[in-house]
C-alpha cells in the first residue's frame, strides 16, 4: 500500500491558547496549516487529470472511495516546478466555505514539523510578500529563528477558479 500515515499528536501538551500547526516546506520556505484541518498525509501517487481545470489542479485522487482534487502548491504560488521526489507528499486538508466543507489535497516538497503557536506570537504579514499573495496568509510566526508562513487554507483553496460557485 502507499505511505498513508495518520497523524497522532498529543493534544494535552499544548498550552491552552496555543494552536498546533503542521509545517511543510515549499521552495526552502516553511509554511504552516492548522493541524486540526489536516486529515492525512499521503505519498504522491498518480492522479487523473481534470478537463479544463487550471494547471495547478493536478487532478483527482481516490481517497478511500472519495474523489479528492489535488493542488500543486508550487504552481499555485507560481514557484518554479520541480520533479516530484521521495519526500514529495500530499497533505489532505479539510477546508470550510459558506456552503459546507470540502476535502482537498496539496502537494508540497516535504512535511517538516509540528509547532505550537499562540495568536499573540503571530505577526500580520507585510503588504508586499512576493510569491504568496497576502490575502492567503494568516500571519507570520517565528519559531526557533525560523519564519513560518501560516496559510489561510479556507481562503486559498476556495479562491479564484477553485471557488464553489464558479
Amino acid at each position: 500500500m502507499d505511505t498513508t500515515q495518520t497523524l497522532d499528536v498529543d493534544a494535552t501538551s499544548v498550552a491552552s491558547d496555543a494552536k498546533q500547526y503542521l509545517t511543510f516546506l515549499l521552495d526552502e520556505a516553511e509554511y504552516g496549516v492548522d493541524i486540526l484541518r489536516v486529515q492525512e498525509i499521503k505519498g504522491w501517487d498518480t492522479v487523473t487529470p481534470l478537463p479544463n481545470a487550471p494547471e495547478y489542479v493536478r487532478g483527482v485522487m481516490n481517497l478511500r472511495g472519495t474523489i479528492v482534487p489535488i493542488i500543486d502548491l508550487r504552481q499555485r504560488f507560481a514557484l518554479e516546478g520541480v520533479a516530484y521526489g521521495a519526500t514529495t507528499v500530499v497533505v489532505v486538508l479539510k477546508t470550510v466555505h459558506e456552503q459546507g466543507s470540502r476535502v482537498m489535497g496539496i502537494i508540497v516538497d516535504a512535511v517538516s514539523d509540528v509547532h505550537n503557536i499562540t495568536d499573540a506570537e503571530m505577526r500580520s504579514p507585510p503588504e508586499c510578500s512576493g510569491a504568496v499573495s497576502t490575502e492567503f496568509v494568516k500571519g507570520l510566526a517565528t519559531v526557533s529563528d525560523k519564519m513560518i508562513i501560516v496559510v489561510d487554507i479556507d481562503r486559498l483553496l476556495n479562491a479564484g477558479e477553485l471557488a464553489v460557485t464558479a
Binding site: V47, T48, P51, A53, N62, T66, P69, V103, M104, L162
Partner: protein
C-alpha cells in the same frame, strides 16, 4: 409483561398516513361515482383502523375526530345518507386536518386547534342533521343543526339488527345490548327466525336470528348506535327514526324544507371555496410530509427481500467453496478456483442489483398526489379536467423520486393553468368540455421517461417569440424553428400567462424545473401543437448511484461513456474524415456527416502522440444530435458507481462525475450533452440537424 407500545408509534403514524392517502384517493373517486359502495367501504375501513389505532395509543383527539367521520361514512355506506359533493369536500378537509394533527403529534408540535374544532363542529353538524332528510333532497343539512331542539328529535327509533353468523363467537351477546336499550325507554322486540336452519344443520355457535326493535325514547341516534358500537362491523344495522307526528309538529316539518331549500346553493359554493382555500395550507403540509419522509423508512416488498436473502445465501455457499479450495491448494485446482471466482463475481453483481432494487419505488408514489391536486386546482380555476395516469408501476430510485415530485407538480399545475382552456372556450373549439391531463411513465433503455400531456390550447408560438424578443432572449430577426421557440419557455424569467395568478405566471418555474431535472442527470423536452395540446417529456436515469458504462482509453487516461448514449462504435476509415477549414472535422457515417471531437482538445489536456493512434470512433447521441468521439481503445463494459466531483471540487462541463476503477484509480464519466456544448464552444459550430416538426397530437 409490560409492553412499551410507544415503540410502535412510528408504525402507527406511517400506517395511518397511508390510510389517509387511501381515504383521500377514494374520496376523490367518490366524487365521480357516488354510487360505488366498495369505495365507501374502503374509506370507512381506513377511518376505522385509524380510529382503532389512535385509541390504542391514547391519541384522544384523533379518536374522537375520526369517530365522527366514521359515523358519517357508516351512514353513507348503509345508503342512509346520500353522498353529496359538499359532504365529500368536508371529508377531504377532515382528511387534511387529520394529517395535520398526525404530523403535529409525530413531531410533538402544536396542533392547529381552531381548525380542528371548526371541522369537528362542521362534521358533527352534518352528522346530527337527520340523515333520512338529506337522502331525498341532497341539500346540505347544516342549517338544520341549530334547531336541534327536543321537538326536532324523533320520538323513537326503529332498529333492524341483523347479526352476522359469527357474531356470538366474538363474545357479543344481543341480550346485553337489548338490556341497555331497555334502560333508555320502552323497547319492543320482534325476532326474525327466517334464517334459522333445521336442527340437524344448526351450528350452536352461530347466530341465525335477527331482530326488529322499536325503541320509544327521545334519544339521539348516536346514543343508540353506541349500544351497538362493539358489533358495528359484525352486523347489519339500520336505524329509522319514528315520527309519530303529533299535530303541532307537522307545521315545522313541512315548513323546514322551504328555508332549508334556499341555502344549499350558497352553502355548496362556500364549501367549494373552502375546499380550494386550504390549497396553500395543504401544500405546506405536504412539504412537511415530504421532508419527514427523508428520515423515515421505506416499504420494501417481501419478494425483493427474499431475492436479497437468496443472493446472500448463494454468496455464502461460494465463499465456503473458495474457503475449501484454500486448504491444500494444488495447481490442479486452478480451474475450480477460476469457476469459484466467476461465481463470486456473479453473486456480487446480483447482490448489488438486489440492493439497488430495494431503493426502487413505483412511480405511483409520485403520481398519487395528483388526483387531489387536479381536483382542487380545477375547482379553484373554474376549469374542468380529467386526470389519467398510466405506467404508475414503473420503478424509479427513491432519491430521484423525491426530487422529481416538485417539478412534476409544477408541470401539472401549468398544464391546468396555462394548458387547459376554460370550459366555454373548449366547447367553442369543438373539444369536450373537460380537458384531459395524462401522466405516463415508462422505461426506455436505462432511463425512465415521464410524460405530462394535456389536450389544451398548446403553446402559442408567436406569443412566446414576442416575449422572447421583449426579454432580450432572442434577437428580433432570429430565425428559429418551432421547437427552438418552444424551448424558450425554459429560460429564466419567462412566463406568458396574461394574468399572474397564485398558481403560475410569475416567471419562476420552467427554468427551475429544467435545472432540477438537469441536476438529476435528466432532460426535459416540450412538443406542442397549437390548439391540440402540449406534452412535456422528462427523461431521467433510473438511479443516481450506478451507471452502465463503456470504458474507453484516450491517451493514458480512461474515461467512461454512459452506455445508453452510445449509438455505435466503429473503426475510423481515414478517407471518411473531412476537415473543413477552421471547423470541426466531420466524419461521413453512411449518408450523414457527423462532427468528431478529440477529448484532449476539448479538455485542454496534453496530447500524448505516443499513445494516441486515433483508431476508433465512438458515436454518441444526446439532445437529438450525434457526435463522434475519437478514442484509442475500447476497454470493456461495466457497471460503475458514480461519485460526485462536486463534493470536493466543482461541476466540470463535459463530465458528469467520476468513478473508481478496479485498480483504485479514478476515471471520469463523460456527460454527453455537456460534451456537445463544449464542442460547440470549441469550434463555434456543430452541425445541428433540423429537428422534425413536432408530432401532431390526435385531438
Amino acid at each position: 409483561m409490560a409492553i412499551d407500545i410507544t415503540q410502535f408509534r412510528q408504525v402507527f403514524f406511517e400506517e395511518s398516513l397511508e390510510g389517509l392517502d387511501t381515504m383521500e384517493s377514494s374520496l376523490l373517486h367518490l366524487d365521480e361515482d357516488a354510487s360505488d359502495s366498495e369505495v365507501i367501504n374502503t374509506i370507512f375501513r381506513a377511518a376505522h383502523s385509524i380510529k382503532g389505532g389512535s385509541a390504542t395509543f391514547g391519541f384522544q383527539e384523533l379518536t374522537s375526530f375520526t369517530h365522527v367521520m366514521e359515523n358519517l361514512l357508516d351512514e353513507m355506506r348503509a345508503g342512509r345518507r346520500q353522498v353529496t359533493p359538499p359532504a365529500v369536500a368536508l371529508l377531504l378537509q377532515a382528511v387534511d386536518c387529520l394529517r395535520g394533527m398526525m404530523l403535529a403529534l409525530q413531531d410533538n408540535s402544536a396542533v392547529d386547534q381552531p381548525r380542528v374544532d371548526d371541522l369537528y363542529a362542521q362534521l358533527e353538524a352534518l352528522w346530527h342533521a337527520a340523515p333520512d332528510e338529506s337522502a331525498p333532497a341532497p341539500a346540505p343539512t347544516v342549517p338544520e343543526a341549530p334547531e336541534a331542539s327536543p321537538q326536532g328529535h324523533p320520538r323513537g327509533w326503529h332498529i333492524t339488527f341483523q347479526p352476522h353468523l359469527a357474531m356470538l363467537r366474538s363474545g357479543n351477546d344481543p341480550v346485553r345490548m337489548f338490556r341497555e336499550l331497555t334502560d333508555m325507554g320502552t323497547l319492543t322486540t320482534r325476532v326474525d327466525m327466517r334464517q334459522l336452519p333445521p336442527l340437524t344443520e344448526l351450528d350452536p355457535e352461530n347466530c341465525y336470528l335477527a331482530w326488529e326493535l322499536t325503541l320509544e325514547s327521545v334519544v339521539d341516534e348516536r346514543q343508540v348506535r353506541d349500544v351497538f358500537a362493539w358489533v358495528e362491523d359484525e352486523c347489519g344495522l339500520t336505524l329509522t327514526p319514528l315520527h309519530a307526528a303529533p299535530v303541532p309538529d307537522t307545521v315545522p316539518v313541512t315548513a323546514t324544507p322551504t328555508p332549508a331549500a334556499t341555502p344549499p346553493a350558497p352553502t355548496a359554493q362556500a364549501e367549494a371555496a373552502q375546499a380550494a382555500a386550504p390549497e396553500r395550507r395543504v401544500n405546506g403540509e405536504r412539504r412537511q410530509q415530504a421532508a419527514g419522509a427523508d428520515t423515515s423508512s421505506i416499504r420494501v416488498s417481501i419478494d425483493k427481500i427474499d431475492a436479497l436473502i437468496n443472493t446472500v445465501g448463494e454468496l455464502v455457499i461460494t465463499q465456503a467453496m473458495l474457503g475449501q479450495l484454500r486448504d491444500g491448494f494444488d495447481v490442479r485446482d486452478l480451474d475450480k478456483l477460476r469457476d469459484g471466482l466467476d461465481q463470486l463475481e456473479r453473486n456480487t453483481r446480483e447482490l448489488q442489483e438486489s440492493v439497488m432494487r430495494i431503493r426502487m419505488l413505483p412511480m405511483s408514489f409520485a403520481f398519487n398526489r395528483f388526483p387531489r391536486l387536479v381536483h382542487d386546482l380545477s375547482q379553484q380555476l373554474g376549469k374542468k379536467a380529467q386526470l389519467t395516469i398510466s405506467g404508475e408501476q414503473t420503478e424509479l430510485d427513491k432519491t430521484v423520486m423525491e426530487k422529481i415530485g416538485d417539478p412534476l407538480v409544477h408541470l401539472v399545475r401549468n398544464a391546468l393553468d396555462h394548458g387547459i382552456e376554460p370550459p366555454a372556450v373548449r366547447l367553442a373549439a369543438n373539444k369536450p368540455e373537460a380537458g384531459q391531463i395524462h401522466l405516463h411513465a415508462y422505461h426506455q433503455g436505462g432511463a425512465i421517461v415521464i410524460e405530462v400531456s394535456e389536450d389544451g390550447a398548446g403553446l402559442h408560438t408567436a406569443k412566446i417569440r414576442q416575449k422572447g424578443i421583449e426579454r432580450g432572449l432572442i434577437s428580433a430577426d432570429a430565425e428559429l424553428t418551432e421547437s427552438e421557440i418552444h424551448d424558450l419557455i425554459f429560460q429564466a424569467g419567462f412566463s406568458t400567462a396574461d394574468v399572474i395568478s397564485e398558481i403560475s405566471g410569475r416567471g419562476v418555474g420552467m427554468d427551475v424545473v429544467r435545472r432540477n431535472i438537469k441536476d438529476l442527470g435528466g432532460t426535459i423536452e416540450v412538443t406542442s401543437s397549437q390548439g391540440h395540446g402540449t406534452t412535456f417529456t422528462i427523461r431521467l436515469p433510473l438511479t443516481l448511484a450506478i451507471l452502465e458504462g463503456q470504458l474507453v482509453r484516450v491517451g493514458q487516461d480512461t474515461y467512461i461513456v454512459p452506455l445508453v448514449s452510445i449509438s455505435e462504435s466503429l473503426q475510423i476509415d481515414p478517407p471518411a474524415m473531412h476537415v473543413v477549414a477552421g471547423q470541426t472535422p466531420l466524419y461521413k457515417l453512411r449518408e450523414d456527416y457527423i462532427p468528431i471531437v478529440r477529448l484532449c482538445d476539448l479538455f485542454h489536456l496534453p496530447h500524448d502522440a505516443a499513445t494516441s493512434v486515433d483508431s476508433l470512433l465512438v458515436v454518441v447521441e444526446g439532445d437529438g444530435h450525434k457526435l463522434g468521439v475519437v478514442v484509442d481503445e475500447l476497454l470493456g463494459q461495466q457497471q460503475v458507481v458514480i461519485k460526485s466531483l462536486e463534493t470536493n471540487f466543482k461541476r466540470i462541463e463535459g463530465v458528469s462525475g467520476a468513478t473508481i476503477l478496479g485498480d483504485g484509480t479514478v476515471a471520469l464519466i463523460l456527460d454527453i450533452s455537456g460534451l456537445m456544448h463544449l464542442a460547440q464552444q470549441h469550434t463555434g459550430l456543430v452541425r445541428r440537424p433540423r429537428r422534425l416538426a413536432p408530432v401532431q397530437q390526435a385531438a
